[in-house]
Point group: C2
Chain length 412, copies 2
C-alpha cells in the first residue's frame, strides 16, 4: 500500500516530537507499506522567519520571502530523515525542487501544476521512506515558491493524487473534524465522515483543520483524506466523496461554524442600475480586499442596499473606499459594523431536506437573536448576528440540529 | 568592473548588520560595478542546526545534514536580497542549485567541479545584484552538498574564478592577515600582501582568516583576494601571486603561527623495512584520522621511530589504533603526549635565505625551549615544543625575525 502522511508544525515542534513521528512512520513501514511523509516547519519557525523579513521592511520581496520561509520545512524534512536513518530505516528527503513539485509563479500563494513521479518512485523502489517538506514547490524557471499558510496539507494531497496513493493521512493536533468548535460548545462531536463540499464550507467558515486548497485538490482528484491526531490514537475523520457519505446514515447537518473576525459594511440607496455592484466589488478587489458574504436586498424606489462582509483587518480600508465611491455615484449612506458574528450551518442533508433554513431562523428567534443578513448556498446557511450572541447561537443550533454528543453514561 | 564580495557570519549576524552589508554593496553598485555577494549563515546558526541533528543521533546521515545546514546560508541570502530591494536596488538570491555550483558528492566536504555562468550572467545583465549563499552546492544528481567549515570563502573565490571577476573581497571580522595572533603577541602587524603559498601555510597552521581550500582555489585560478573587515574601513591584506610580492620589498618571514590543538604520538622501534610507514598511516586514514606532521628519524639498529601529530580530539583513537598495530608488527613502545604546542615560521624569503632554520632553533634555545620534533617545507619550519612555552616562542620568534610593529611614536 502506498501511504502519504502529513505531520503539522506542533507534531514536529522539537526533535522529541520528530522521534514520535518517526516511530509512527516506522509502524506503517513494518507492515510493508511504501511511505511518503510530508512535514511542516517546526511550530513557530515560519513566524520567526517572517519576523526576520519584517524587521527589514514591511513589504519584503515576495520571491525572496519564499526562499526564506521554505527553509523551515527543509529543516524538518532533513531532521526526520536523519531520525529515521538513525533508527535503522532508510530514508531520503526530497525538496520541492528535487521531487519536482511544479507550481505557477505566484510567490506566497503558488498553485501546483504538476508533480513529477519519477524521482519519488525510484526512491520508494529502493525501499526508502521519502520525506518531503510541505508548503514548497518550484516554478518553471526553478524559483522556489510556497503554497500559502497550511500549504503542507495541499502538498500531501497533491502527492497522494499524483502518485495514486492508497491512503492520505493528515496528522494534526486535533483528532478529527468536529460538528463545531469544542471551545464554544462542549457537546461538539467528532465526525466519522464528512464530504469534500461540507469540509470546504467548514474550512472557509473558520474550522482550521485543513487548508481549503487541499480539500479542493482532494475533491478534484478524489483523494480520501483521514484527519487524525499525531498525539493520541483514534479513528479520526474521513473526508471523502458525497456518495460515500450518503450511503451511510443520513445526517442533515454536519456542523455549525462561527466566525467573529469580520466586519459588515452596507452601502444604502445604491441606484438600481446595471454595473453598480461591479463598481463596488471591483474597487474592493483592486485594493486586494477579499469579500466574504454579499447580500443585495430587493430594490425599492429604484435604489437597493448592498451589504458585504470583509476581514476585520480590512474593514477601515474598505469603508474608506466605499465612502469615496459613494460620493462618485451619488450615494449618501455607508455604514459599518464590526461588532458582528457569522454563524453558519453546513450539511449535505439540506439539499434534500426542506425547512432547514426556517428551522435555523426559528432557533435563533427563540433565543431572541436578531438576524442582520442571510446568505445561503446549496449546503450552507450563514447568518450575520450581533457578536455577543455568537456563542449562544452556536450552542442552540448545535443542539437543535441533533449534533450534541450523547452524554457519557456514568451510571449503568 | 565585476566584483565578488563575501561576508562572514558575524557580518550578517542580525538584520541590522545585514543592512550595513547592503549599504556597502550599494556603494559599489553606485560606482557602476556588477556585484555578486556571497553570504555565510548568521553567526551561530550552523551550530544551532548541527545541535538539532546532534540531539537526534551522534552520527546523523551526512546527506541530510547538508540539507539541514545549507538552510543557514539560504536564510541570509534571502534576507540580504530583501534588504537590497527594500533600499531600491534590484537583487536576486540564487542558491547553489540555482546557479548551479556543481560539486562532487562528498557530503559535508564537497569539492566544486564546475560553476555554470549563464544564470548569474543573465541576472547581472538585467542590472541585478546577485546574492549567493556560500558553503553550498549541488552534485550531479541534484543532491544538496556543503563545502565544509569556512566553505563560503571557497564559494566566493570559485565564483570569482569562474566568472573572471576583476576583484574578490572577503569581508570578515578582522581587518586582514597578521604576522601572528595579536592575542598572543601584541606587536603583531597586519600584512599588506601575502602570497598564496604563505597563506596556505598560515591557514593550515592555525590562522583562521581564510578557509584553506579557498586559498588553493585562488592560487590555482590566480584570483587575487582582498581580506578586509566588514566593520572598520581599511586596506586589508591582498593575497596574491608570489611574483607580485617578490617585486616588492623582500621580507624573509611573513608570519609566526601557533597551534595547541594537537597531540604527538610516537611509535618507537619500528622495524626498518619497506611498508611499515604505509601500514601505520593507512590504519589512521582508514579511521578517518587526519595526520598533520610526520617525522621519521634515521634508523638505528634496523629500527626507526615514527612520530606524528593528530588533532587532540582524535588522539585517543589514534593511540588505540597504534597500540593494536604495534602488537601486530611486534613493536613494544607507543607513546602519546598532548601537552604540546606547534610553533611555525612561514615566509617565501626562506627559499633564498640561508640560516633561517638555525636562527629559529637558536631563538628557541636562547629562551630555554627544547625542541621535540622538527619539520620543514620550502616556505615553513615547524617545531613541536612543550605547550607551556607556546606563547613565549611566538613572541620571541616574532621579534627575532623583525615582525614587531614599530612602536607608535607618542612623543615627537
Amino acid at each position: 500500500m502506498l501511504v502519504v502522511q502529513k505531520y503539522g508544525g506542533t507534531s514536529v515542534k522539537d526533535t522529541e516530537r520528530i522521534r514520535n513521528v518517526a516511530q509512527k512512520v516506522i509502524e506503517y513501514k513494518k507492515r510493508g507499506d511504501d511511505l511518503i511523509v510530508v512535514v511542516s516547519a517546526m511550530a513557530g519557525e515560519t513566524d520567526r522567519l517572517l519576523n526576520l523579513a519584517g524587521s527589514v521592511t514591511p513589504f519584503p520581496d515576495e520571491r525572496e520571502v519564499d526562499v526564506l520561509i521554505s527553509t523551515g520545512e527543509q529543516v524538518t524534512s532533513a531532521l526526520l530523515a536523519i531520525t529515521l536513518k538513525s533508527m535503522g530505516y532508510d530514508a531520503i528527503s526530497l525538496l520541492g525542487s528535487q521531487v519536482r513539485i511544479i507550481t505557477d509563479s505566484s510567490f506566497g500563494k503558488a498553485r501546483i501544476n504538476e508533480i513529477e513521479r519519477e524521482r519519488i518512485l525510484s526512491e520508494l523502489k529502493k525501499g526508502k521512506i521519502v520525506v518531503v517538506p510541505g508548503f514548497q514547490g518550484v516554478d518553471e524557471e526553478g524559483n522556489i515558491t510556497t503554497l500559502g499558510r497550511g500549504g503542507s496539507d495541499t502538498t500531501a494531497v497533491a502527492l497522494a493524487a499524483g502518485l495514486k496513493a492508497d491512503l492520505c493521512e493528515i496528522y494534526t493536533d486535533v483528532d478529527g473534524v468536529y460538528t463545531t468548535d469544542p471551545n464554544i460548545c462542549e457537546k461538539a462531536r467528532r465526525l466519522d465522515r464528512i464530504s469534500y463540499d461540507e469540509m470546504l464550507e467548514m474550512a472557509s467558515l473558520g474550522a482550521k483543520v485543513l487548508q481549503i486548497r487541499s480539500v479542493e485538490f482532494a475533491k478534484k482528484y478524489n483523494v480520501p483524506i483521514y484527519v487524525k491526531s499525531s498525539l493520541v490514537e483514534g479513528k479520526g475523520t474521513l473526508v471523502c466523496k458525497e456518495e460515500e457519505i450518503m450511503s451511510m446514515e443520513k445526517v442533515v447537518i454536519s456542523g455549525v461554524t462561527y466566525s467573529k473576525n469580520e466586519a459588515k459594511i452596507t452601502v444604502n440607496n445604491v441606484p438600481d442600475r446595471p454595473g453598480m455592484a461591479a463598481k463596488i466589488f471591483t474597487a474592493l478587489s483592486d485594493a486586494n480586499i477579499v469579500v466574504d458574504i454579499i447580500v443585495q436586498n430587493v430594490s425599492h424606489a429604484n435604489t437597493t442596499d448592498i451589504t458585504f462582509t470583509v476581514a476585520k483587518a480590512d474593514a477601515k480600508k474598505a469603508y474608506k473606499i466605499m465612502e469615496d465611491l459613494a460620493k462618485e455615484i451619488g450615494v449618501k449612506d455607508v455604514t459599518m459594523d464590526d461588532d458582528i458574528a457569522k454563524v453558519s450551518i453546513v450539511g449535505l442533508g439540506m439539499i434534500s431536506h426542506a425547512g432547514i433554513a426556517s428551522k435555523m431562523f426559528s432557533v435563533l428567534a427563540e433565543e431572541g437573536i436578531n438576524i442582520e443578513a442571510i446568505t445561503t448556498s446549496e449546503i450552507k446557511i450563514s447568518c450575520v448576528i450581533k457578536r455577543k450572541y455568537g456563542e449562544l447561537a452556536v450552542q442552540a443550533l448545535h443542539k437543535a440540529f441533533g449534533l450534541d454528543q450523547e452524554d457519557v453514561k456514568e451510571e449503568t
